[in-house]
Amino acid sequence: MSIIIKDLHAKIGDTEILKGVNLEIPTGQVHAIMGTNGSGKSTLSKVISGHEDYEVTSGSIEMDGKDILGLDVDERSRQGIFLAFQYPMEIPGVSNANFIRAALNARLAEGEELDAVAYYKNLYSKMDALEIDRTFTARSVNEGYSGGEKKRNEILQMSMLEPKYCILDETDSGLDIDALKVVSRGVNSLRTEDRGFLIITHYQRLLDYIKPDVVHVMHDGQIIKSGGPELALELEEQGYEQFKPVTA
């Protein structure tokens, strides 16, 4: 089981951002993508999730052997793709509890209903683990939250929806060290044999807490180098410059 991306090209408007990405994320593994601003990391996460602003011009994305490029954002989500946003959106007037319940309901077959008691029990235990105050169930999604609260809320949604593939887009940005630890613990608790992770980050720091199996370096819309966890350390010490093609 895996997401397999082959020679993926994508553009927004007339600007090509992804210029032939090849990547395989099998379940049971954590892959990290590192790269400078503008290298296409965040675009890759949006294209995998199906953001309609990006047009895939060639290449393919397969999930567990099935082409997903024809699916809408919500269909991809229900089939198991979760994206933790770099900038989670605020939804005024919609409580966290209602939002997550609506998302879970969208996954149920017709006629099935969520058991309210079991739902809250599950929600509370996951909130406790992420050190989110229980009053957040009634608060509007992300409205007026601090950066750290928003990111923890993303991980809460992720753990409630139990996706098969989790993409974390710069989840570490704007987090202090304590919040980073809590978020990382949340992610680590979700690491299982049947779940795959793609972690997009600028910094090695996050990878101290979430140990990747594979590290990729992205530059100018392509993955230019892949390696073990040591690659992240190398990047941290020596910068991105050494990996850039001389001709670039």
Binding site: D74, I91, A103, N105, S140
Partner: protein, 485 residues
């Protein structure tokens, strides 16, 4: 959005969750049906003094009422359409093609078993009997021009509560109602209050005696069943000193080929220390012109709250008002308007401060969908000689599509410097990125949109009684289903 369009989307079950489907099924069954017309009394098509005489005769009215009607007709004919400030669409009302009075000649019964079968079927499908058994203190159900059923719980009658239709109110309780009738909203207030005054029929006349506090609401249900028809109910509620009442009205009509007119006048009088809450949930079909005048007078320490939800209709013009006549009186208007494709919700509030230390609050939220237009018109008036008056006005508009429109016309006239007023207005949009975020969690576009819209009005919906807030959420979901894709 027409109701037919909804059924088209329900044929793809994977697109819609079960809850929404159920809601659609219920609402279709609820609103969009009609029973055969069977009217013993029909004032015919068009409006002239014979029409007025016909109505007055059928009702066996006293001369003063007949005269009141004739004078009103003259005012109506003289007054121009208010198209100098309101929409030109008003000119499309064909007064000559409307039927002004339709009734089957039966007096409203107090027992469901005596209600004519076709009328009973209508109200049973709309769920009125169940609601009455459940949480209501009294109910009146109006079918076209006249009440078909009217019942108030026995213990309330014993306490002196009167809850009857307008004909009965003026005939049986003239001494109570006549002093206030047409005083809160004079005939010549506007063209449509004049029209109503000429041809009014049905509606609720309510009197709550001193100190009586009703724990359960009274409810009226207005149903238009006939095509080319005008419904002109007249409601007058008098809450005597220290009394409290909550009144709720629901309105529906099936989908007609031609336009239909609903033009009500509602007058409220809250005497010293009394409280009146007036709650409206209307779900008119898309070819109803809904032109309603609603106003209340709040005496010393009294409180009047209008809680108003306007969904559907081709054009709604409605600006509930409170005249705060006594010291420390309070007035409030809380309104939600949803203008779907091709609809225009022109709503607002009028707060007239006429005594010291009076307080008013207006919270208005509108949603415009497709080519829908929402207009807010507010009027707050605080004269110079008063002191210690407060007004808070908030109006928020949500635009769903790029073709949706909203306009705000607040008119706040505050003279003198011993007052506190506050005005906030906002226009927001359901952004593409917000929808993307919600869709990334697995909601389809319509579900995401519904959730966003429900979130927008959430704090106001909680002002409605439970039975109505659930209904409201369903209605909003239903309206949003057709707004995307």
């Amino acid at each position: 959005m027409e109701i037919e369009d909804i059924s088209a989307t329900t044929s793809e079950p994977q697109e819609i969750d079960q809850e929404t489907q159920d809601a659609i099924a219920i609402d279709r069954a609820k609103g969009d049906f009609r029973v055969p017309e069977n009217h013993k009394y029909d004032a015919g098509i068009g409006l002239n003094s014979d029409t007025v005489d016909y109505i007055s005769s059928v009702k066996k009215e006293k001369d003063w009422i007949r005269e009141f009607r004739h004078k009103a007709l003259a005012v109506f004919e003289k007054k121009p359409m208010p198209t100098n400030w309101a929409t030109e669409d008003l000119n499309n009302i064909k007064f000559d093609e409307i039927r002004y009075y339709l009734a089957n000649g039966q007096k409203p019964t107090r027992s469901w078993d005596e209600v004519p079968p076709e009328v009973m079927e209508t109200f049973e499908r709309l769920g009125i009997p169940e609601q009455e058994r459940g949480f209501l203190a009294g109910v009146e159900a109006q079918f076209d021009s006249e009440a078909a059923y009217s019942n108030v719980k026995e213990e309330l009658t014993k306490q002196g509560v009167i809850f009857v239709n307008s004909t009965e109110g003026l005939r049986e309780h003239e001494e109570i109602f006549r002093p206030y009738f047409g005083k809160v909203i004079p005939t010549g207030d506007n063209k449509f209050s004049a029209l109503n005054s000429a041809v009014f029929s049905g509606g609720s006349f309510i009197y709550i005696p001193k100190g009586v506090k009703l724990k359960q609401p009274l409810q009226a249900y207005f149903r238009i069943n006939s095509e080319n028809f005008g419904q002109f109910e007249r409601t007058l509620i008098i809450a005597d000193e220290g009394s409290e009442v909550m009144y709720m009205e629901g309105c529906t009509a099936p989908k007609f080929e031609t336009t239909t007119l609903h033009s009500a006048v509602v007058e409220l009088v809250a005497l010293k220390g009394a409280k009146i809450q007036y709650i409206t949930v209307q779900n008119w079909s898309a070819n109803v012109f809904n032109l309603v005048t609603k106003r209340g007078i709040a005496h010393e320490d009294a409180e009047i709250r209008w809680i108003d939800c306007n969904i559907g209709s081709r054009l709604t013009m409605k600006y509930p008002g409170v005249v705060m006549k006594g010291e420390r009186a309070r007035g409030e208007v809380i309104s939600i308007a949803l203008a779907n494709d091709g609809q225009h919700q022109d709503t607002g509030a009028k707060m007239i401060h006429a005594a010291n230390n009076t307080t008013s609050n207006v919270v208005s939220k509108s949603i415009s969908v497709g080519k829908g237009t929402s207009t807010y018109r507010g009027q707050v008036h605080i004269p110079k000689h008063l002191k210690g008056c407060k007004n808070n006005t908030e109006c928020d508009a949500l635009l769903i599509n790029s073709s949706s429109q909203t306009d705000t016309y607040p008119a706040i006239t505050v003279k003198g410097n011993k007052h506190v007023t506050q005005h906030e207005a906002s226009v927001s949009q359901v952004s593409k990125e917000m929808l993307y975020y919600m869709q990334q969690r697995g909601l389809n576009e319509a579900q995401a949109m519904s959730l966003a819209v429900n979130g927008f009005v959430n704090d106001l919906v909680s002002e409605f009684p439970m039975e109505y807030s659930a209904e409201l959420k369903r209605l909003i979901d239903l309206e949003m289903e057709g707004s995307v894709g």
